[in-house]
Structures are given as structure tokens and as C-alpha cells.
Symmetry: C2
Subunit: 312 residues, 2 copies
């Protein structure tokens, strides 16, 4: 058994996007075994989630264990930390434990990049960014590996954060703007922990693609429900999206119904579904899939570094 | 983060039984958060199970990942192997990874010992043993720490195994016998991977307590369903028992109903439920709880040994 702290560096997004796209394609073909993630609440709004899966096509199985502790920032700790355990498919022997904290942000960014690759109205895009944390960075970098970014319009609740974000991505003509202005774009990425709609329907122009990333637990939402009812909504996984994705609150309040889902990102990748017209608004409702975690862990465990651990 | 291969040895059953009894008591008081375990099928009837839980009273949270690969014995590998990850409740930081292979057998044996402590008709017992593998050994050793064993009657599908088992426990007057004779006892432990009833109702005398341990997945059963309908059945967890415990097949075939369950072992431990009369047959339907895994891991991670691992 090997432990991989991944101190030797992370793979480039060109490789990560490719691996994540292949995982979604397998999901679209129905070729994966993946129960919905399981939540266990802890103290002070903290929780941890257990995400098991098996991808026969890659011969890889395992589980990611990931926490979300909103009060961690005040402690100088990341809000989200994760480990992925990989087990041998044929024997069940634990093969690897991978530090998956950074990989979690990367595989989520890559999912947004794949969604944008297939659903963006154009190849050269103005990127809207609402929420300027680690996940927003990963989305910019993953999308930059698949589309050309001509401008970034970023808004954050704290102006200091959006200005720092704009400075960091000056090469992409990033500017700190109002939230309404950030929504005037081709591809909008929302990554806030909001529990009420931040993005109003009137702000979203025809043809916009939205990566709705922030909602990942019951009660969370970022979009005016009228955006969802007027858009073509693609989810990563219907069960998880209904439970904890952007659509979870509108379903709870009766404003949205799972029958309105246009398809899964996997179905989009294999060409079974897609945007119906250039003017349609499309939404990718991302909750995060265990198969994304397996696919990115597979890029790490092919390396020689890591710590050998005795087992048993 | 520390990795514990547990090479420094295992705690004695006196301590393990105490820890497991405390965990069941918390469960009986409704003081734990524990979703049902999640199964993912792999190749050749192999699978792995993910078992998350949080015990506020102990301030411990985490998840056990355990495989079951029936073909492993032919490869010279254990059928069951496990790791438990413990995370810090307040911050979500991964604290420890514990080799839980042997601990899994021990915590299951301890659950049987606690069930026997509360449900056995007497303190000095003749022990029946059906199935003579690792789990049967753990049950004998755990029960010996709480009751006095005056004789062991052991049966195994292969006589060589039951004779070796009898020799190993000669101090307890262990003898290799027919399966019917093994059932003539005070406390019967069944630990086979059977998918059809092995133990007939006619063989079970008044007042017998049965630890039904073998059934741990849909389709598995060891007992004639007439034993269950005539007995007082206590489960570790109603949801898991209905899904994968001894009662799962009779429920599927309409011979048993969850409304017939007499209570949980946790309720027995806190005195809320118990055997109704000395003559009643009692059954403990064990599927294995994540809180047992946390409770036994807590005994290991209080030690100083183990490997320091960098995280992140």
C-alpha cells in the first residue's frame, strides 16, 4: 500500500480534463457503479462525505472521503480536505491512499471545463466568475485548457478577493466588476456557498452557459429558480443533483421537477444530449462524482513517488 | 496524519468488549449518526463496503472501507481486508488510518459476546459453533471474556477445519461434531457464507441464544426461517439487517417482516428490551456497524506507534 501526498506536483489540466471527460463518457454509457454520496453531519455545520465507485473500463475502484467545514478558514485550515483510497478490483487489497484536497478542486474545475467545451455557445469566451475562492481558480485554469478566454469578469462578496483574483488572471484581461456585470458573459461560473439565489434571471443573456458549482448540499442554491425553469439543465448525476445540487431547493419548494432535467453531462459528452439552439441558456448542475475522484487519482498512482506502508 | 498497521498487537477482549458495549449503548440511546453501509460490486462476486459514522459522545468520526472477496482464499489472501479512516470532528482533518482487517473480526466477535452477555440463558455455557473460520475464533475468544465456556461443539463443512478448531480450543473442551449436535447448546454462533438455510428449527432447543453472523449481504442466510418466526430477533441495525442480515432473504420471500423485530442490541444493552422468558429462543442478527469500527479504532489511535504521514 502506498500513500501519495502528491508533493511531486499536480498533472496539467490538459491531462486532467481528458481523464475527467473519459469518466463522464463512461457514466453516459452507463458503464460505472456509483451509489450516491453519503453525508454525515458533524459539529458547527461541518460534515464529511463518503463517495465510493467502481469504473470497470479503467479497472479502478475506491472511495473519496471529504469534509466541508465552513469555519475552518478562521482556523487557517482549508474548508475542504480529502483522501481517496484505491482498492484492487480483483482482490480488494488497499493499493493507495491519495491526498485528494487539491485534486478535488481540480476535478471539479475539469468537470466545468468539459461542460463548457460541449455547451458554451462559442470557442473564444468571456468568462463570468461569481465567487473568487480556490474553486473559481480551478475553473478558470481548467477552462483555459479547452477554450480561449478573452476576458474574465469577476465578482466576490469581498471586493478585496475579486481584485486579487483579477490581478492573478491579468493575462486573461480579468476585471473586478458588479455581480450583474459578471453575469454578462458566455460562460458563467458560480462557486459560492450561498443558501439563497444570488444570480437573477434578468441578468442572464441568451446563449449563456452557466456552471453552477456552489450548491453541494441540501439547502444550498445560487441561481434564481426562474433561470432553471427557463434553461436546459444538465446534471452530473440525477440522484445527487436532486439531493444536494443547484436544483435541490427549487425541487423542495415545488418550483422545479426532476422530469425537467435535460440530461446528464455524460450523455452530452457521448453526443446523446446537447444544447438545443444557440440562444438557449444551458446550466451544468455539478455536485461532484466519485468517478471524477477515481479518474484523477489514477493519474497520481501511476507515479513512483509516495510512501510505502505495510499492510497488513 | 498517522497510519497504524497495528503491528504492536491487539487490545484484549476485556477492553474490546467494553468499548463495543458502550458503542451499542450509544446506539440504543439514539446518540449516533450512522447511515446504512453502502455496497459496490466488483468482479467475481467481490465487493467493497463503505461505512461512515459519527459518535458525538466519543468525539470520533470516520469511515471503514472493507472488501469481501470470496475467491481470495485460493490466492492466499484474506477474504476480508479493511482500513478505517478517522477524521477530526471539529476540523475534518484526516487524523489516522488504521489497518482494520483483524479489528473487523474482533469487533464482530465482541458484538456476539455482548449479545450473549445479555441474551444467553445462563452464565456458564455450552457453545455451538457452525463454521470454523476466523470469525468463529473471534467469537469464542470474545465470549470467553464475558461468559464461562464449559464446552464447545464445532461443525464445519470440511471436517479437517472443525478438528483443527477443536484442537485449538481444547482448553474449553472443544469437540468436532455433527451440525445437529453443534446446535444442541446454550449459545450458537453461525459464521458461514451460506445462501440457503443450514440450521433447522427442530435442532434448536428452548432458551437457546443464536448469534447469526454469517449473513452480511443480500441473498445470504443460515437459519431456517421458522427459527426467526418463532424466536425473539434482535438486530444491530434495522435498516442494515433488512437489507443484508439474516432476515433479508425471509423478508424478500415474505416469510418475515420488519415489524416482527424484537428490538436492537443497543436497546437490549440499555435495558429497554430483552429476552421475554428463560425458554424463549433469541437471535442476534449481526450485520456489523460502523460505530463498532470507530469504537475499536479508538483503542488503537490512542497509542504512540504508527507512521507519521505528511498531510497535506
Amino acid at each position: 500500500m502506498r500513500y501519495y501526498p502528491v508533493h511531486s506536483g499536480y498533472p496539467p489540466y490538459t491531462r486532467v480534463n481528458q481523464a475527467i471527460e473519459a469518466a463522464f463518457a463512461e457514466h453516459g454509457r452507463g458503464g460505472v457503479r456509483m451509489p450516491s454520496k453519503v453525508y454525515v453531519g458533524l459539529v458547527e455545520n461541518g460534515d464529511f462525505r463518503t463517495m465510493p465507485a467502481y469504473m470497470p473500463a479503467l479497472g479502478i475502484a475506491g472511495v473519496k472521503i471529504v469534509n466541508v467545514h465552513p469555519n475552518n478558514r478562521a482556523r487557517g485550515l482549508p474548508t475542504v480536505m480529502a483522501l481517496t483510497e484505491i482498492i484492487d478490483v480483483a482482490t480488494g487489497v488497499p493499493q493507495a491512499i491519495v491526498n485528494a484536497t487539491e485534486l478535488t478542486a481540480m476535478r471539479t474545475g475539469a468537470a466545468g471545463a468539459i461542460a463548457a467545451k460541449y455547451l458554451s455557445p462559442r470557442r473564444t469566451v468571456t468568462l463570468g466568475v461569481v465567487g473568487a475562492g480556490r474553486q473559481a481558480e480551478a475553473l478558470v485554469e481548467a477552462i483555459a485548457a479547452t477554450l480561449t478566454i478573452d476576458e474574465i469578469r469577476v465578482w466576490s462578496r469581498t471586493e478585496k478577493s475579486s481584485e486579487a483574483f483579477a490581478a492573478r488572471y491579468a493575462d486573461y484581461n480579468a476585471v473586478s466588476v458588479s455581480i450583474e456585470r459578471a453575469c454578462d458573459c458566455d460562460v458563467l461560473n458560480t462557486t459560492t456557498p450561498s443558501r439563497k439565489p444570488l444570480i437573477m434571471a434578468d441578468w442572464i443573456g441568451e446563449g449563456t452557459h452557466i456552471n453552477a458549482i456552489g450548491a453541494d448540499a441540501p439547502g444550498k442554491q445560487e441561481l434564481d429558480p426562474r433561470i432553471l425553469t427557463g434553461a436546459e439543465v444538465f446534471v452530473d448525476d440525477p440522484g445527487q443533483a436532486a439531493h444536494s445540487g443547484e436544483i435541490n431547493v427549487p425541487i423542495e419548494t415545488g418550483l422545479y421537477d426532476t422530469g425537467m432535467i435535460a440530461g446528464t453531462l455524460g450523455e452530452v459528452v457521448i453526443g446523446k444530449r446537447g444544447r438545443s439552439s444557440p440562444g438557449a441558456v444551458t446550466v451544468f448542475d455539478s455536485t461532484g462524482l466519485a468517478i471524477q475522484d477515481l479518474a484523477i487519482a489514477a493519474l497520481i498512482i501511476e507515479r513512483d513517488d509516495g510512501y510505502d506502508l505495510p499492510f497488513p
